[in-house]
Amino acid sequence: MSAAAMLSVRNLSIMFGGVHAVEDVSFDVNPGEVFAIIGPNGAGKSTIFNLISRLYEPCSGTIHYGDHDLLELPAHKIVRTGIARTFQNIELFEQATVLQNLLVGRHRHMSANPLTALAFLPSVRKSELEHRRKVEDVIDLLDIAQYRDERIADLPYGARKNVELARALCAEPTLLLLDEPASGLSSEESDDVGFWLEDIKHDLGVTLVMVEHDMNLVGSIADRVMAINDGRLIAIGTPDEIRDNQEVQQAYLGVSA
């Protein structure tokens, strides 16, 4: 595929016990596009995300992001290459406030030294204020100012989804992996997510890769769609091509169309 690909995954495989969760999957994500991954439950969509963010160790294959060979990096260094992610089952810091959560999102850009922290040197104060400003930009963008000082444990589900997206944006990623951004949201909330993702793509220039079941959302914002089933790639194409693809229909409906 194109040499200018941002993220390129080649022949990726992983096995859990005897099960091939992902088998020989290759794809490229181009800069500036919205790339959606669809597939029935258990197809291996989230597993691909966990492989890219290095939470799982693949059996074989390569993952390159720009000049970085991701498989050479430990999980906590992935965000430094510019890849941020959200989780399917919201992984926020429950007992902390929204603001604290978002500031952890800035961790990649902050220096953390326990000795200067204990003394709270003027340099630490300065950097705190500086990063707070960046966090406020994200708060404005996603319109979550009213939750700023709330604890996550007190927030409703939809707000948590937004906060998790905001936290990922605080890392100022160039590539954002979204694991079901619209799952569990009402159709209005899901439309909002669609608008925000468009904004994030156009205004911040972030490339998006998302796993999503909501075909309306996928159809309205995705540039390309990859369909997988049983860990294997079925097809890559525009949303319309994928919708008309026979194998995809078979995977979802289980009948030969």
Binding site: S53, L55, N89, F93, Q100, L103, P114, L118, A119, R167
Partner: protein, 358 residues
């Protein structure tokens, strides 16, 4: 109710935002500073000991309450601090130098323990820290040439910057000085990215990692800071005990520290202080109780552990957030009077976290 109108980001960094908080903290500090004027020597010494336990509690709170790493071995750091300091000053090292060296030594041991514990969770971590405690206790007992073994070690008199501090009030002010520093340092820590990375590891290692937090290193740091503060408490404790013996730093002492922070309220510095107040007041009130109760009950052996246990059970069942949680609710009640309802504190259901990675 005071509505806080924030006008700059500094408002979120400041320790004490509301007027009420400033007044309360001011009053407490003033009362502590004036304590020698209105307390008898016996109670002043007890208050000094309370402050020492508050330091130890804050040490453990950073590790367990803020980083989510259970440690049943924290009495070992009290012991390491007390012994290391006593040995250093009996070899002629000045107090000020010894405090720094002991704290650093304790931090180093803590980081070494953290290094090996950084990949363990839950029960395994609890058992590992317990094993560490038994190891240290045995070492303190068997290394006779250095520690005096089970016969004990006499703690040299307290001399700070060439001034002998013999009176109870002098030692009390020394304790107070260190408490203020430690509270300040701990509060500082949790308004920086280092402190937030601790919280992150406690609440979700998975997303902490994906946001660039080096989870293993955070645990090592947390063990280090926690051990340093507990070691410092050990230094001060040595001067209260006057005579060290390995049995002082046993499993029960560790449990006492753990109880302190659980009953006080996990996840807050104030909780550690509340816990220290509780475990210091309990023996005093029990000794009062003994006189009042019929001899059949009052003179029973094991009344103290029994009451300790009972209090913990009651707290875990009725107020898992500890005394600190009670305190917050009380404050909320007065601040929003008369709008507080029972349902104000009913938590929303927490959302299932299936398919969690470990």
């Amino acid at each position: 109710m005071q509505v806080l109108f924030k006008t700059c980001y500094e408002d979120d960094i400041r320790f004490l935002a509301k007027t009420g908080e400033k007044v309360r903290v001011g009053l407490v500090i003033a009362a502590l500073l004036a304590a020698p004027l209105w307390l008898q020597n016996y109670y002043l010494a007890e208050l000094g000991l309370l402050l020492v336990y508050a330091i130890a509690g804050i040490g453990l709170m950073i590790l367990t309450g803020y980083t989510g790493q259970v440690s049943f071995g924290h009495a070992a750091f009290l012991g390491i601090g007390a012994y290391c300091h006593s040995i250093l000053i009996s070899h002629g090292v000045p107090f000020s130098v010894s405090v720094i060296l002991t704290t650093a030594f304790s931090a180093a041991i803590g980081m070494a323990l953290g290094r090996s514990a950084s990949r363990m969770h839950g029960f395994y971590l609890a058992i590992a820290t317990l094993a560490f405690l038994i190891l240290v206790e045995t070492l303190l007992g068997e290394w006779t040439s250095m520690t005096g073994g089970y016969a004990g070690l006499k703690v040299p008199a307290l001399v700070v910057f060439g001034m002998p501090l013999k009176a109870v009030w002098q030692q009390y002010y020394l304790d107070l000085f260190f408490v203020l520093i430690v509270v300040m340092a701990a509060a500082n820590l949790f308004r920086t990215s280092t402190g937030r990375s601790f919280l992150a590891v406690r609440d979700s290692e998975l997303s902490a990692r994906s946001l660039g937090v080096n989870v293993e290193w955070v645990k090592i740091q947390s063990f280090g800071v926690s051990a340093a503060i507990t070691g410092l408490a050990g230094v001060l404790l040595a001067h209260h005990l006057h005579y060290l013996s390995p049995e002082v730093f046993n499993v029960l002492e560790s449990l006492k520290l753990m109880l302190m922070i659980v009953v006080g309220g996990l996840g807050s510095i104030l909780g550690a202080i509340f816990g220290a107040i509780l475990i210091s007041l309990l023996p005093i009130s029990i000794s009062f109780l003994k006189d009042v109760l019929p001899p059949g009950i009052g003179q029973q052996a094991g009344l103290e552990p029994l009451l300790f246990g009972l209090i913990i059970v009651l707290f875990i069942v009725f107020e898992p957030l500890g005394i600190y949680g009670r305190w917050m609710k009380l404050r909320y009640f007065f601040e929003t009077f008369p709008y507080c309802r029972k349902s104000s504190f009913v938590r929303q259901k927490s959302y299932l976290r299936t398919e969690r990675l470990r």
